[in-house]
Symmetry: C2
Subunit: 471 residues, 2 copies
């Protein structure tokens, strides 16, 4: 048996963790500056909280947990008896899963957030602005940039009325985050009601709405021709497709594109509403201005989750070399209906930590992250010397200087090698000699210089002097 | 259907999250000051990495994941066919679980750490000092202070030789953490080799070792008499029990207790080794001194996990009112053997975040944690006013002041109520009046005073002045 971890999961080394923590801290800081407060929900949800919320494909990608211990055994034995006596075919997946599993791992952070709001509605002050940075799990086929366990960073607002200023704030929030990360992005925007308008205008039947949006969303990835093929295959007529495609092909600026669509959608109430919303967002953002973000109206953007009801957003790196999405979001009014709470208005963004990490790594954008917290290695000469020196170790730590004691009195060369291999910049030696002279000997491992100090405060000063140059 | 979350799991509100994050930050800071580096391992491990490492009870408490999607269906259909054709009884739990599950949720952080070391041994610099702060899952019966999802905070050292200075550093580490938390603790210490010596001395048979330690460990919880009853029931003789109990009953200080045991264990090599180790740790700690920690030799401490081989540690609150363990640890040399890597020496501590939280909450030790990040609410008068004022919102955020924009032009009273309910200390109003006068109006919601400012820098100064008094 070779030792391994499940496919689609990863171990993170200290170097990776320092970069990941830097991303999380940067995102968290901006979430809080914009007034979002942290919550967390359990990794495990009741299966009925999740099932049916992500479409059929989503349902099959939810990780389900077996009942544990005796409860599992009892249920399973009952089940076996029934199966053995039963000559009919049973609806395996549903029937069976009820017998042996009633819990599942969280698939995203939006549904648990909505569940949280409904369960805690009496304690919450609305409008409720929360952020959540936690892992989610999907039994997707693993591939580059797609993992079975990955982190989402979500900021959402839930209230009893909607305001387009919420969308504007979320766009500003993304811009601040990616500006702080020095990572330019394109923020695609669109509106589900404009898509509704296009569907009406093109005479596409209501029952094809889901198929239409699913195919349309692939436009940038698989291209016009394959999208057309898919749509025709699903029963959308060639004329209908052409009517829609005409507008997607328009390569003009926002204002001109809007003019074309205003004419085309003049008979669709939904369409006109969508255009009004987008226009409001666009004009205000133009006045407020963005830094590292190019806001772009992408008429083919429609987003996989069917719960979106208004604005939809998607974030890609500015170079978009790998045509990979690093975040998205949108408005999902009335989503809490499915949990029995009416008249809620929700909107949010979700950033994919692992995708951002990969893209920043490949663009070499982590240069400024200093990876090695330890500053000092204490060379181990023997029990007596260590005991004598331990007060210095404690003093350095009190001063905020990460200090390691090498655990054994190994050969000095081995101990220095440990410091070098761990990128520890200083080594302090207090042997018999130094004890007799009442000195502290410190080596700068990069400059390869050595100095004796009379005073521990001078040691601290030297270390801090050097830290300034790094951090 | 009432909406709920699985038993033993919890939602955390913002107020709870701020306290939890404060604990995590404090612990993480000390881990890093002591030279431990962060890693993370996946929540999901292969089932064979975990099974067999935690004893039989542990195995049954591991949360297992169903195969997903089509793979599950195929395997399950195969299984059904076999079951239907098979008249024999099958060994359900093992046979079945192999068919439908090969993955499980992490049960602790120690086994995944050891698995990590073995898998990455060629990239790691030894001695390897890592910390890990992540949730673990156990299908335990939920009760007060026992959850099915909870956080562990682990610091461990793995190397090719052992050093008792590692134990001393870990004890110092715990003392620093609980000193920073202002939370006095008792740190119980014992040594598995001393227990081995006691077993030899009392003539208890080798095969009763596991039963002996399991019962002994309950001494502080269920008391002497019930432990005796359990041991007799398992086949340990009354005379053997009395010989061991004699030493556990000794209520003297470390040095005297050690004298008694030195005599009693003089013929046990193991016993003498254990006493030497403990003596070394005790004397050095005495010289180095502790702050909020009482180090106490607890001869009945033996720890549940059978992988410990030397020093064992357990942390309880100093008052120990709820006789609840908030952390523990010890030495587990050669544990990596089970993953095919020999001659490893490991030692570590594990702190239970959720237990520490509960105890600190009940002792009212979170007073200094300031729970409300948002400092300013921007009152919404209408689109024109918000657009005019947005540059001020951006400026405040750039200055590190968390600022919310109320999303709608609701009645002013409702907006101020939102600020009060969220403990936001300042509200800024820029209506038509203020725009004309070129002023910024800010209300201090605690003092209930209002002031007009000419200059945004004065606003920042006022807010920061007040922050000093809070934080």
């Amino acid at each position: 048996m070779t030792l391994n971890i499940p496919k689609g999961t990863r171990d993170f080394s200290s170097i990776e963790m320092n970069k990941r923590n830097y991303l999380i801290q940067t995102i968290r800081k901006q979430f809080e500056l914009f007034g979002f407060n942290p919550i967390e929900t359990p990794s495990i949800e009741n299966i009925y909280t999740l099932i049916g919320k992500y479409g059929e494909e989503g349902d099959s990608l939810i990780f389900k947990l077996l009942h544990s211990g005796n409860f599992f055994k009892k249920n399973f034995l009952d089940f076996l008896k029934e199966i053995k006596n039963d000559k009919k075919t049973v609806n395996i997946s549903k029937y069976f899963i009820e017998k042996i599993s009633n819990k599942a791992l969280r698939y995203d952070l939006t549904i648990p957030f909505v569940r949280y709001v409904v369960m805690h509605k009496n304690e919450i002050v609305f409008p409720f602005k929360r952020y959540q940075i936690q892992p989610v799990w999907r039994a997707d086929k693993p591939q580059k940039g797609r993992f079975r366990e990955f982190y989402q960073c979500d900021a959402d607002i839930m209230s009893f009325s909607s305001s387009l200023w919420e969308e504007i704030e979320l766009i500003q929030l993304c811009d601040e985050i990616f500006t702080k990360l020095n990572f330019p992005i394109i923020l695609y925007i669109n509106h589900r009601d404009i898509l509704r308008g296009l569907v009406e205008m093109a005479g596409i039947k209501d029952h094809l709405w889901k198929d239409f949006t699913t195919s349309l969303d692939k436009w940038n990835k698989i291209g016009r021709d394959l999208v057309k093929k898919e749509m025709l295959h699903k029963g959308i007529s060639s004329q209908s497709f052409d009517k829609v495609a005409y507008f997607i092909d328009i390569k003009e600026n926002f204002d001109n594109k809007e003019k074309h669509l205003t004419v085309a959608l003049q008979n669709s109430e939904k369409g006109k509403k969508g255009l009004r919303d987008l226009n409001f967002i666009y004009n205000n953002i133009k006045n407020i201005s963005l830094q590292k973000t190019k806001l772009e109206w992408n008429l083919s953007l429609s987003r996989g989750m069917n719960y979106y009801t208004g604005t939809i957003l998607e974030i890609v790196p500015f170079n978009n070399r790998n045509s990979i999405s690093i975040g998205g979001g949108g408005r999902y009014d009335q989503l809490a209906n499915s949990f029995g709470m009416n008249n809620t208005y929700g909107v949010g963004v979700s950033l994919g930590l692992d995708r951002i990490y990969l893209e920043m790594e490949s663009e070499n954008l982590f240069q400024t992250v200093y990876n090695y917290p330890s500053k000092v290695l204490f060379i181990h000469f023997g029990n007596e010397e260590v005991l004598y020196a331990y007060k210095i170790i404690k003093f350095l730590r009190k001063k905020g200087i990460s200090t390691q004691l090498y655990p054994n009195a190994d050969k000095i060369g081995k101990q220095f090698r440990y410091a070098n291999d761990n990128n520890i910049p200083f080594a302090i030696s207090i042997g018999k000699n130094e004890i007799n002279k009442n000195k502290i000997k410190m080596k700068d491992l990069q400059k390869k210089t050595e100095k004796e100090y009379d005073n521990i405060n001078d040691v601290v000063e030297s270390i801090n002097e050097k830290r300034k140059n790094y951090e």
